[in-house]
């Protein structure tokens, strides 16, 4: 009998129908019979619960709802049941709690309009964020003693030094792939030696910086957004404001300085490791001795290729840091928002970096640094 509720319909002498419930009217047992109870057809004029051994609020709720639908009294309630029925009756309300249904022809324009407004406020948000950063830099320039040097150094370590192994490994492998694949194609023209030009120019001009920017966006841009976003949720950012510390100066600017500066170093480092990777493949697969490869690099790569990389790197670093910090500062509400903003920070940073890279490619060719 454990955990079961059964019901029977009894006709009494007057021809009225009586619903008799038996067993345990509990949240654990109500599931199977609840739908059946709702569908009983001959409407009954009385609900008898005298045979119910145990009842909880859910059971009481179902009984009182049935009684209300059929407009009939409940009889045979024990003291506990009466208590519960009263407690449940207090909470009955007719308010409709389902959210209002909006027809599709209104919903679509509403959504669209919402997006437009969102885009507008997003634009204002970015502009005011940039303005706040410029003001922050101006403030720090006027009061150099306020520059948070420790924070900058710490961020440099996190963004730069700890990224060295992974970026080194990635660049080394990319150097290997370019040299090996390039040699396969160039050998069709008997021009394997041009592999050196290919590796040297492509890593210094393009891939070293671009891949590093993508890696830094994934490693540090996301960390910026998540760190600052969590600090917003735990009201740390508000606490800083009340103490009179500007979160822009203390949180955002160190990250921007660190990321911009370390990108230069990481980008250059990545190019160099890429070239070394190419030289290793040259030694073992192409028959070009390692040091000859490096010497040839100096002859065939114009110096402006190095400058192209070095100009692009800080710009990319700035964009990654701005995207991470901006999205971090936009977090409000709940923890889901942190994840969402972190993703947005990485995606928008990588997107902006690639768009700008295309722009730089055209620009530097036009100015004669082809």
């Amino acid at each position: 009998m454990q955990g079961a509720v059964t019901y029977t319909l009894e006709d009494d002498s007057a021809g009225a129908c009586k619903l008799v419930l038996e067993g345990q009217l509990l949240v654990s047992s109500i599931g199977p019979v609840e739908a059946e109870l709702d569908e009983i057809d001959p409407r009954f004029s009385e609900i008898d619960i005298s045979a119910v051994d145990e009842i909880d609020t859910v059971g009481a709720w179902v009984v009182s709802r049935l009684a209300k639908h059929n407009d009939c009294p409940i009889t045979g309630a024990s003291d506990t049941a009466k208590h519960l029925l009263d407690a449940v009756a207090d909470t009955v309300s007719d308010g409709d709690l389902t959210p209002e249904h909006v027809p599709v022809w209104e919903r679509v324009p509403l959504l669209l309009g919402g997006r437009v407004y969102q885009a507008r406020s997003g634009f204002f948000g970015v502009v005011s964020f940039l303005g706040a950063i410029i003001l922050g830099f101006a403030n720090l320039a006027r009061h150099p003693s306020r520059v948070p040097i420790r924070a900058v150094v710490r961020q440099m370590e996190m963004v730069g030094i700890s990224a060295l192994p992974i970026i080194g490994l990635m660049s080394f492998l990319i150097g290997i792939v370019i040299a090996q694949q390039g040699a396969v194609q160039l050998s069709q023209f008997g021009a394997e030696t041009l592999t050196v030009n290919l590796v040297g120019r492509i890593t210094l001009r393009e891939l070293g910086v671009l891949m590093t920017a993508i890696m830094v966006a994934g490693r540090s841009g996301s960390a910026f957004a998540a760190q600052i976003g969590t600090m917003k949720l735990t009201e740390e950012v508000d606490a800083m404001r009340t103490i009179g510390i500007s979160p822009i100066e203390r949180l955002v600017i160190p990250r921007i300085i660190a990321c911009t500066f370390m990108m230069i170093i990481l980008g250059f480092y990545s190019s160099i490791v890429g070239i070394i990777g190419g030289a290793v493949i040259g030694q073992f697969a192409l028959g070009i001795p390692f040091f000859n490869f490096l010497e040839r690099i100096q002859e065939v790569v114009p110096l402006h290729d190095v400058w192209v990389g070095l100009v692009k790197a800080p710009v990319f670093g700035l964009i990654v840091a701005l995207a991470g910090c901006y999205h971090g500062m936009q977090v409000k509400g709940n923890s889901e928002e942190v994840g969402l903003r972190t993703t947005m920070a990485v995606v928008s940073a990588i997107f902006a970096v690639i768009v700008l890279d295309a722009f730089f490619a055209v620009f530097f060719t036009e100015v004669g640094w082809g």
Partner: protein
């Protein structure tokens, strides 16, 4: 194996003590929080648990609800041995208790109503969605929140409302046993008094046993049937407040006879003479 039976072996509301803790030891590295702690909670009572900060009140609660594996000792909850069993095998007990965490611990991506529905959906999937929604709604009302609160997200609620929403979720399964971790901390006095009253009403209507950690002397005087005092890594005394004062333990003396204790005492005696 026995732990997997969904039904209570002793039936709902049997007379035996719902919580029995024997020789509980909790140790973190070299730091001993509990050393041979014993505690029995009787059915149908509100047991207040007090103790200075860091005496392990929350650790004790976490041990009882199985979130913290004790170093040694036995804990029986609702007639079942909790210690030495995998967390996943205690379903039979978990659907018979409700827990209100300090900050409410509501799932932030769900509305209050959906929060209340979570345990229902988890343990009783056979209940139809309509009934589940109705249950969630009346639990929200039962916990003293306005009906509209069911549609709100936790981030839109004030601290006091979050606690009530947490209470609604703790009550979702009609538990026999309710754990409250500092329910009135951070509430204004009116809100705290209302919450106390609510707890007492719920205990009386639903026949709950309540395990209540608190620092609120008013709560202790107003609604607790007995009070357990944690000190020196043990429960040093359990009883009504007058009984506790008779023990003459210095910490208990200071706790209840300090300036705050006296004013709470005065408030209660005023109330009784009215």
């Amino acid at each position: 194996m026995a732990y997997e039976e969904p039904e209570a072996p002793h039936g709902r509301f049997s007379k035996e003590p719902p919580i029995v803790v024997k020789g509980l030891v909790n140790r973190f590295g070299d730091f001993i929080v509990h050393d041979g702690l014993d505690l029995t909670v009787n059915r149908g009572e509100i047991l207040g648990v007090v103790g200075g900060s860091g005496t392990g009140k929350s650790v004790m609660m976490r041990s009882i609800i199985g979130l913290q594996k004790p170093t040694a000792g036995d804990i029986d909850v609702l007639g079942r041995r909790i210690t030495g069993v995998d967390l996943d095998k205690r379903i039979g007990v978990r659907r018979r208790w409700g827990v209100l965490f300090q900050g409410g611990a509501l799932f932030s991506t769900l509305t209050v109503g959906e929060n209340v529905e979570v345990p229902l959906k988890e343990f009783y999937p056979e209940i139809s969605p309509e009934l589940r929604r109705e249950i969630a709604r009346f639990k929200v009302l039962l916990s003293g929140l306005p009906e509209e609160a069911a549609l709100k997200y936790p981030s839109e609620l004030s601290g006091g409302m979050k606690k009530r929403a947490g209470l609604a979720r703790a009550l979702a399964l009609d538990p026999e046993l309710l754990f409250l971790d500092e329910p009135t901390a951070g509430l204004d006095p009116i809100g705290a008094a209302a919450f106390d009253q609510q707890t007492k009403d719920l205990k009386e209507t639903l026949g709950l046993t309540v395990f209540l950690i608190t620092h609120d002397l008013d709560t202790l005087y107003e609604i607790c049937d007995r009070v357990a005092v944690l000190a020196d890594k043990k429960v040093i005394a359990v009883g009504t407040i007058p009984e506790l004062l008779e023990t003459g333990h210095p910490w208990i003396e200071e706790y209840f006879n300090g300036p705050r204790g006296r004013s709470a005492q005065a408030a209660q005696s005023r109330e009784q003479s009215d």
